[in-house]
Symmetry: C2
Subunit: 314 residues, 2 copies
Amino acid sequence: MSGEFERIAQIVEALGHRARGIGSDCAIVEPGEGRLVASTDTSVEGVHFRLDWIALREAGWRAAAGAFSDLAPAGAMPAALLAAVVVPASAADEDLVALMAGVGDAAEAAGAPVSGGDLSSGPAWSLTITVFGWAPRPVTRTGARPGDGLWVTGALGASRAALEAWRRGEQPVAEARAAFAHPVARLDAGRRLAAVGARAMIDLSDGLGGDAAHLARASEVGIDMELDAVPAAAACIEEARRLGISPQQFAAEGGEDYELLAALPGDFGESDAPAFMRDCGIPLTRIGAVRQGSGVHATLAGRPIALVGFDHFR
Amino acid sequence: MSGEFERIAQIVEALGHRARGIGSDCAIVEPGEGRLVASTDTSVEGVHFRLDWIALREAGWRAAAGAFSDLAPAGAMPAALLAAVVVPASAADEDLVALMAGVGDAAEAAGAPVSGGDLSSGPAWSLTITVFGWAPRPVTRTGARPGDGLWVTGALGASRAALEAWRRGEQPVAEARAAFAHPVARLDAGRRLAAVGARAMIDLSDGLGGDAAHLARASEVGIDMELDAVPAAAACIEEARRLGISPQQFAAEGGEDYELLAALPGDFGESDAPAFMRDCGIPLTRIGAVRQGSGVHATLAGRPIALVGFDHFR
C-alpha cells in the first residue's frame, strides 16, 4: 500500500483529463452564471452498497451520480466535484484507483471535473462526494402552488427491484442492476424543467411517497397523486408480484431512483411532454396535482393508499 | 435513536442562527468577490481523533477548523460549510448534536453558516467537512520565486505535543491540548498575507518539513530554512526533551498546526512583522528564504538536518 501522495498521483493519472487542479490546498473554480449551489453525500460500504453486489468502480459512479442528482432539481449546471475517500487498511492501490475512476466517469457525464478531495484510512470504504454548480434561478422545494401539475421523469422502482433481489440472495435482472449501480443524474431534465417554469422540484432519493411529502411540506400545499399513472420500470413487475402489491405501489415506495418530481404550472399539459422526451431522452409523466391544504393523498384504482417511505438512515 | 429527519431538526435547532438553508436538496449561496475556492476534509474516529482524548463537540470544531484552514492560504473569505456525518449505531441523539454544535462554533468563528450536509450510519464516527469561499486573487503553492522570504505564522509543535502525551497515556498540558482540540484556522492572517503580496502559501497540516517541500516542488524552487528561527510552542519543550531533540526540530516535524507558511516578496522585512502581529494577534516569523534549485535545505545551529514528514495516511 502506497503513501498518501503516491496514491494521489495514481488517481490523477487514472483520471487523466477528468481531473483538474488536484493536489492543492483548495480547488479554485471560475464563477459561473447565477448562484452557487452545492451538495454533499456520503456512501458507506455495508450501508449504501455492498461489494458483493457491485464493483468499486460502480460504487464510485453511484456515489457521484447520487451527489449530482441533488443539483438536478435546482436546474443547475455542475462546475466541479470533490471526493473525500476513507480507505480500509485491506485495500490495494488498484481498488482506490477503480473507485475514483468510477467517480471520474460520473463527473465527466455531468460535465464537471474532479477538482480535489481527501484521503484517509478507516474501518470501511466511505466516499463523501461534494458537488457544486451554478444555477441562474435555483428551483427549490418551496414554490409549488395549488393548480400546478405534478410530474415525474423516467420510470421508477428499478433500483428497489435490485435491492429486493440481492436481499433475497439472487441476482437482479439487468435493468434493475443498472438502475442501482449506474444511476444517471437528471441534470439535463432539471435544467429543461427549470426553463419551462418549474415552481418546485425534488429528486426521488427517498421514494415518491416520502419526497412528495417533503415537497408538500416545504411548499405548504397538499398533493393528490394517482398512482395508476406512475411509470413503473419493467423490472418492478416480478418483484411487486412477490410482495403482493401493484408495480405502481412498489415503484412509488422505492428509494434512490434519482428521477425528478416537479410541480409545473397548470398550463403545462400532456401535449408538452413529447418535446421533453425528444430533448431529454426520458419520459415526463403527469401523476397528480397540487392543491390547497397539506399532506399527500394517493389513490390506486380509485382507492386511497398509504405509501411507506424510505429512510436512508439505516 | 431518532430517524434522519428528526435528527436534522435537532441539529437545526442546536445550530440556531449558525444554520442557513439546511434540509434542501442543495445549499444555495450568493456569489462573492473573485473566484470560488473549496476544500473537503474527513476526520475519522480512531484515525484523526479519539473520544478518550477529546469530546465530540471538540471533534466537530477540530474537523471544521481543519477544513477552513485549507481556505486560509488562498486568502479567501469563507462563505458556507457542508457537513457529511457518519454516525455509529451506538450513538445517542445528543452525541450527534454535540458534534454538530462544535462544527457550528467553528463555522461561526470563520464567518460562514452551516448550509447543509448529509447523515448516514456506519461503523465509526466520520465527519467530512466541505467549505466554500471567495478569493479575489487566490494565492496557491506555485508562485514562490528565488529571493522571496519564507515566513510562518504563530508557534508550532503544540498539537504534536498533545499527541505524544496521549500516546504515552498521559494528559497533555493545557496549551498542547487546546492546540489539538481547538485549532484556529488562520483566515485573517491568510487574507492579510495575500494583501501584502504573498507569492505562495500553504497551511501546515503535514508539518513544516513536509509542507515546505510541497511548496518548493509546486513552485519549482529550492528552500533554505534555519530551524533556530522556528517559533516553537512552549508545550514542545518537555516533549522534545523526552525525544532527545531540540524544541525547534520537534516543532518543525509536528503536523496539524494549521499555521501558514508563506513566501513573501524580499522587500517584506522584519520591520513589517509587528503590524501583522498587531492586526492578526499572532506573530509572523522569518524562518528562511526561497532560492533557485529544488528541495528543502534545513539547518539547526549551523548543521544540516533532515526533517521527518508527517503523513496523514495512517
